[in-house]
Amino acid sequence: MSDRQSSNAYWQANLRLIWRCMIIWALVSYGFGIILRPLVAGISVGGTDLGFWFAQQGSILVFIVLIFFYAWRMNRLDAEHGVDE
């Protein structure tokens, strides 16, 4: 039973981490890249605005950082909860 509780706590921690990452994932692409572009239009980047940069470069770079961040935090979680390989 204690095993199941530990894996339940592990799963809840994983879900919280996924939610946080997904918020950033949506913010840089759907947010800055598309919907919020008019809001950040005042910040100019190389002949255009920040929203254009996020849509064509920034979102992809943030995606990469997010995946490695998630992988790193999950390795720690795996070890803390004793479910690593």
């Binding site: 692409s29 254009f52 979102s59 998630y70 004793g82």
Partner: protein, 603 residues
């Protein structure tokens, strides 16, 4: 050395490399054939995934899609990369822990239903077959352009090559040839891009050159491009012109569609551990980003170079300061020989409509500004005289437009072939795995021996290649609808069912089946309403225009709505029916934790 000999040498050398790898990486068991014995390192798998994922469309067409639309088509860049975040967090680690060989197998086991598995197989086959036809035609086109053979001969050569390494090596052979193909394609894509960025902006990195300053005029490159294209009556390059809702839904359809593509998912079955599956998704995106962050620069710079070729004044942002390029120059000038080369293929054409000896390129349907209106009146223009510009030549003709040496052109040809062949092989593996493992072993003959299944897998692979080649020679109408059909179905069927299988222990067989059927049927009906039933032209019930679309949602974006329908129907139906058996709940518990993934290897 002639260009033809160079092309032959470079393409021949790349093919010899793939065959060498195939002989070295023969598969001896089903675990090797389906999953490369789960021994591929995360970095290698990331590279193979990048080649598997980046198709002829990514390599040849995407820069052109961005070039002629600008900011609005950023949806492709975000959509075709953002799916890897979903894969890394929502699907890949758990499916790797599950430790079996195919996507329908997970659906069948998790939802304790042969019916669910068969629906999964049908979705997989529609998605992968639609997708593979485009790759096969891409191989044929590239061959015919660079090796002076007919496109059907080219297709058979490509098919023979895939046959050697896919039938011999299965996943193992495909993985290592994909690694080699990634290296070829990324070199081919990067070299011309770096040269062009240097010429235009002085930046070595195309990614920063895009936001840099134009050498010729000392103004910002993108601002100049905006100026030049609006001068000619086109929409501004960096402006947002399309419906915001449709952009969001289309990006989402591409993202969840990517995460739901079976040939991408099975790549994550090849790594040793669950932690490797997460890390490998990150590496895959690193290797994909090397092309995807360069593509917008290639697109914008190719658009600029094309415009400046047609209007030499545009080179400094003063579009009408010099007359348009003359017919005589196009026919004689050495640095414009690429226009004559590409005219032969039918991808580029021009016509001096007003007979003034100049070829004026502008947007005749656009909102003419005062300056353009004056030019039209003064020069007596009868319409745009650059009558055909195919999106695809933006990448294929790029080295010629920039006057790069012949070996660069040969490498681009080898790169286009590598992109098409690597994706074709991955798709063929997904198809043959579904046939031999899900249909033959799963449904028709469960008692088949390991040796028998390996033989069945090889035969299915050979038959799949033959079918794909024949379809590539005579592409059916739906082949042009890869984006709407393949991504729409992956988004509305496979992604939701996998996600619910992992994240909802309560989801049962009835819910999953009802959800998949509702998502797929809604998506197909919406696509067929605008594109014609089974894509037969003339049978569409409404015109395929933004005004006729429901809430302005294009058929290609509808996969997102289909996914929402799938989730909603599955939830409602599963709440009203009995919960899944205890052993399925244990299965869900077990795939959620990494420990023990190695043991599942025994299958």
């Amino acid at each position: 050395m002639s260009q033809f000999t160079l092309n032959l040498l470079v393409i021949g050398a790349s093919f010899a490399l793939y065959i060498g790898i195939a002989i070295w990486a023969r598969a001896g068991s089903t675990a090797e054939f389906y999953a490369a014995n789960r021994g591929v390192s995360p970095v290698m798998n990331g590279m193979a995934t990048a080649a598997d994922w980046m198709s002829a469309a990514s390599f040849i067409s995407m820069a052109g899609l961005i070039a002629f639309t600008g900011y609005d088509n950023s949806t492709y860049l975000m959509g075709w990369t953002g799916g890897y975040v979903l894969l890394a967090m929502l699907l890949a680690p758990y499916l790797r822990k599950f430790g079996k060989f195919t996507v329908p197998e997970f659906i069948g086991d998790r939802f304790y239903s042969g019916t669910a598995r068969i629906i999964g197989v049908i979705c997989l086959l529609i998605i992968s077959i639609t997708y593979v036809i485009g790759q096969m035609t891409g191989v044929g086109v590239t061959f015919s352009r660079y090796l002076e053979v007919s496109s059907s001969t080219g297709l058979w050569i490509g098919a023979a090559l895939v046959f050697v390494y896919a039938v011999l090596g299965g996943m193992k052979g495909i993985t290592y040839t994909q690694v080699a193909q990634y290296i070829v394609l990324i070199i081919a894509y990067t070299i011309p891009a770096v040269f062009i960025a240097l010429q235009l902006t002085g930046h070595v990195l195309p990614q920063t050159g895009l936001f840099g300053t134009l050498n010729a005029s000392d103004t910002k490159f993108l601002a100049t491009l905006d100026q030049v294209v609006t001068d000619l009556g086109f929409r501004s390059y960096t402006g947002h012109h399309q419906s915001t809702l449709d952009m969001v839904l289309f990006t989402m359809a591409l993202m969840i569609g990517t995460a739901g593509l079976p040939h991408v998912i099975i790549r994550f079955f090849t790594v040793p551990k669950v932690a490797d599956a997460r890390k490998s998704a990150g590496w895959a995106l690193v290797f994909i980003a090397l092309l995807y962050t360069v593509a917008p620069a290639v697109g914008a710079m190719a658009r600029f170079n094309l415009t400046a070729t047609m209007w030499p004044g545009a080179e400094t942002g003063q579009t009408f300061s010099q007359p348009a390029v003359s017919l005589e120059d196009i026919q004689n000038r050495e640095d414009l020989h690429w226009m004559r080369n590409w005219q032969v293929t039918g991808l580029l054409n021009w016509e001096d409509k007003n007979g003034d000896g100049l070829i004026q390129y502008y947007n005749e349907a656009g909102a003419a500004n005062d300056q353009l209106a004056a030019v039209i009146a003064e020069q007596g223009l009868q319409g745009n005289e650059l009558t055909t510009v195919n999106n695809d030549i933006m990448v294929l003709a790029n080295p010629e437009i920039a006057n790069l040496p012949g070996w660069v052109i040969a490498i681009v040809a080898a790169g286009g072939l590598a992109a098409a062949l690597s994706t074709a092989a991955g798709l063929l593996l997904a198809i043959s795995g579904a046939v031999s493992h899900d249909l033959i072993k799963g449904a028709i003959n469960p008692g088949i021996s390991e040796k028998g299944e390996l033989f069945a897998a090889r035969v299915s692979m050979a038959v799949s290649i033959l079918v794909a080649t024949i379809l590539g020679l005579n592409p059916p109408g739906f082949a042009a609808q890869t984006v709407a059909l393949a991504f729409g179905l992956a988004a509305s069927s496979i992604f939701p069912v996998l996600m619910m299988g992992i994240f909802s222990a309560r989801m049962n067989k009835e819910g999953a089946i009802a959800g998949m059927l509702a998502g797929v049927i809604a998506t197909l009906v919406y696509i067929f309403t605008y594109k014609g039933w089974f894509f037969i032209s003339g049978t569409n019930m409404l015109p395929d225009t933004a005004d006729a679309w429901l809430f302005g949602i294009s058929p290609a974006s509808f996969g997102t709505v289909g996914a929402v329908i799938n989730f909603a129907v599955a939830y409602l139906v599963s709440s009203a029916t009995k919960e899944p058996p205890a052993e399925v709940r244990d299965l869900v518990e077990s795939i959620r934790i990494p420990r023990g993934a190695g043991g599942a290897q025994a299958h």
